[in-house]
């Protein structure tokens, strides 16, 4: 049976992204995919494989190796009426384009007081666990959320990768679409064949639970889910809330989750100081303080740069660290 006769197809995350890019390029001829090695080689993770053959070299473009040029040109393309979908090969490389991202793309609508829309979807793989060289695994999502004017989207599942990427490409504002390195082939799941849109700012329960809530995003949703299974065997019911997007943030969903359990663990891969988990805790403190039965706990990376391979399994939160945090949290008396 061909794909389109079924309602869903089981895909890896990278397959879901690839098919979504193709579908959006098919739908809207203004959509343009470009970046380093995206055309002939199909991207270092093959996320753009086959697009060159299907849509031609005007719309699928191998760029000179210059991240600022990729994003600066994207701003001009958007101003000129195109729908750019640039790829930054690894999120850590975006440091070399930060002035275009934070200084220009994020504020172009604002500084032109509504004249110029920056409907740009910036795709970038991020996150650790696959033994990359330096600067290939950094989790910079917290920094990105501190740049007013960017939307930051962090899918965890293949279906959400499709639904959120579709939404991103159709959004009139800049979206940084972060794809977990480990999820590209490590995450597989049913993806609707028909058009599938997931609105931003709507968190999702990956696992329901009554005793403790883990709030997280992107690949850590799966790690937290494994931790919740182990804790369930010990009689502790742990829910996992997948934020899906950090800007906009589902404040109501977070408040609801806190009210449900009173005990919260926030899991992120990033440097903890001023990381996004801190923003989640601030949100809880402002809006759900009296529902807390214990102080919120963070399980993060460390206040150290993302390390080399032999240290990364310790740096990146894993099942054991999450489990340990939950066990300590349930011991706190209300």
């Amino acid at each position: 049976m061909s794909d389109d006769l079924r309602e869903e197809t089981t895909l890896t995350m990278v397959e879901a992204i690839n098919r979504t890019l193709a579908a959006e390029m098919e739908r809207d001829e203004r959509v343009l995919v470009f970046g380093e090695d995206v055309a002939v080689s199909g991207g270092v993770f093959r996320a753009t494989e086959g697009l060159l053959e299907q849509f031609g070299e005007e719309r699928v473009v191998d760029m000179p190796l210059a991240e600022a040029a990729i994003l600066g040109a994207a701003a001009g393309l958007a101003a000129g009426g195109m729908v750019p979908v640039p790829e930054i090969q690894f999120l850590g490389f975006s440091y070399q384009a930060m002035h275009q991202l934070a200084g220009q793309i994020a504020r172009f609508r604002y500084r032109s007081w509504g004249r110029f829309s920056m409907g740009i979807t910036i795709r970038a793989p991020f996150g650790g666990g696959v033994r990359t060289p330096e600067l290939h695994s950094d989790s910079l999502e917290g920094q990105l959320t501190n740049m007013a004017g960017l939307k930051v989207v962090v899918p965890a599942t293949a279906a959400d990768a499709k639904g959120l990427l579709t939404e991103a490409i159709r959004d009139p504002d800049p979206v940084v679409f972060l794809e977990p390195l480990r999820g590209y082939r490590g995450v597989k799941g049913p993806v609707p064949n028909a058009e599938h849109r997931v609105p931003f700012g709507q968190a999702r329960w990956a696992v329901p639970g009554d005793d403790v809530t883990i709030i997280t995003w992107s690949h850590q949703v799966h790690v937290a889910t494994r931790a919740s299974r182990r804790l369930a065997e010990q009689g502790i019911s742990v829910g996992v809330l997948d934020l899906r997007s950090l800007v906009p943030l589902d404040t109501a969903g977070i408040v609801d989750a806190v009210e449900r359990t009173g005990r919260v663990v926030i899991v992120e891969e990033a440097v903890p100081t001023s990381g996004f988990a801190a923003e989640v805790i601030a949100t809880i403190t402002e809006h759900a303080f009296y529902s807390l039965e214990a102080p919120p706990v963070r399980v993060s990376g460390f206040d150290a740069p993302y390390p080399v391979g032999l240290l990364e399994d310790t740096y990146v939160p894993d099942v054991r660290r999450i489990e340990s945090a939950v066990l300590r949290l349930v011991e706190v008396a209300p």
């Binding site: 040109a73 220009q104 509504g114 009139p172 700012g201 943030l249 404040t251």
Partner: protein
């Protein structure tokens, strides 16, 4: 002078140069009176801006200015000066150049606009739109990575863009000799595989001629041109700068002898198409233009809660909440 300019054009160019100088002086005074923020005078660079824009078709061609040029973009409509006055006051409407005017807001982050220009020209090429993009930047900006990334990308993509380096000899206090060991700025085009041309930036007709040629080349599908217009900054970098600390007096005196407005006026007098009464009329028109712009800008309404507008096409729930909270505070505080 084998140019396709008639006497009306020549007179129009001089009028625009005079208007720019008067506007620049007026804005300087307004800053000294504490009525506007920091402003960068255009004194000395009028011939470059006016000569370049006279070579463009405002209905087809885009201009991406830095922060001085908007004073001399009258060819694109009196609205530009209105908006620039608002920009100088610090009104957000100042950054909004309305449709259909093909002018970007003033750029502060040096050289970023060159990449926007390349991207915009790329969009025009993809959409088969006639027209070119002209980006202004300075000798100092040519040291930025974005200049090299943009020149390189423009060469690779063969897009209809004109990179116009306004060499006014100074980047605030840093002379060109400390910006580059190169024999000039146009020669950097060799690295991009595009033509590089040096022109007397104090001669509006010479600038007109090279921009006309670059435009014809771009429209013929032959791609980008780098132009270095050699001029001299007769005033301070900005109202916050004191050039007596670094600019040699004799050098400045010599540059004033070559003031582009005086030189061009004498040329037109020699041709018998300019006289004292026209000079008086031009000065009166210049004063009226900046008066009109100032009156328009000074009377623009503004509410403080608007500071949350135009970040995104649709505000996030957080932004809506912040706006409501700010509104309540401002009402209670008044």
């Amino acid at each position: 002078m084998a140019l396709d300019l008639d006497n009306d054009d020549l007179v129009g160019m001089l009028c625009e140069m005079i208007k720019a100088r008067i506007s620049s002086n007026r804005l300087w005074s307004l800053q000294r009176q504490g009525r506007i923020g920091t402003i960068a005078p255009i004194d000395g660079q009028e011939a470059t801006t006016v000569g370049a824009t006279w070579a463009l078709d405002p209905s087809l061609d885009w201009v991406l200015p830095q922060y001085r040029e908007p004073m001399a973009l009258g060819r694109y409509g009196s609205e530009i000066l209105h908006r620039f006055a608002a920009w100088a006051i610090g009104h957000p409407q100042g950054g909004h150049i309305p449709e259909p005017l093909r002018v970007f807001p003033p750029q502060i982050s040096l050289a970023t606009q060159i990449l926007h220009g390349v991207g915009l020209a790329w969009a025009m090429k993809l959409r088969r739109e006639p027209g070119v993009v002209l980006t202004f930047f300075g000798d100092g900006s040519s040291s930025e990575g974005d200049f090299y990334e943009a020149g390189n990308l423009a060469g690779v993509l063969e897009v209809p863009v004109i990179l116009l380096c306004v060499n006014n000899q100074w980047a605030i206090s840093t002379p060109t000799g400390k910006q580059t060991a190169s024999s000039g700025f146009a020669t950097k085009a060799d690295a991009f595989g595009i033509p590089g041309v040096t022109v007397d930036g104090n001669d509006p007709l010479a600038v007109y001629e090279v921009v006309t040629a670059a435009r014809a080349r771009a429209l013929a599908g032959k791609g980008a041109t780098l132009i270095e217009a050699v001029t001299y900054r007769l005033g301070a970098h900005t109202t916050a700068d004191d050039p007596t600390r670094y600019a040699p007096e004799d050098e400045l005196a010599a540059a004033k002898e070559r003031d582009p407005i005086d030189v061009f006026r004498r040329q037109l007098e020699d041709r018998g198409i300019w006289d004292r009464s026209m000079q008086a009329d031009a000065e009166e028109a210049g004063r009226r233009a900046i008066d009109d712009a100032w009156n328009w800008a000074s009377n623009l309404p503004l509410q403080q809660v608007e500071l949350l507008d135009h970040v995104f096409a649709t505000p996030t729930p957080r932004q809506r909440a912040q706006r409501a909270e700010l509104d309540t505070f401002l009402r209670s505080d008044s």
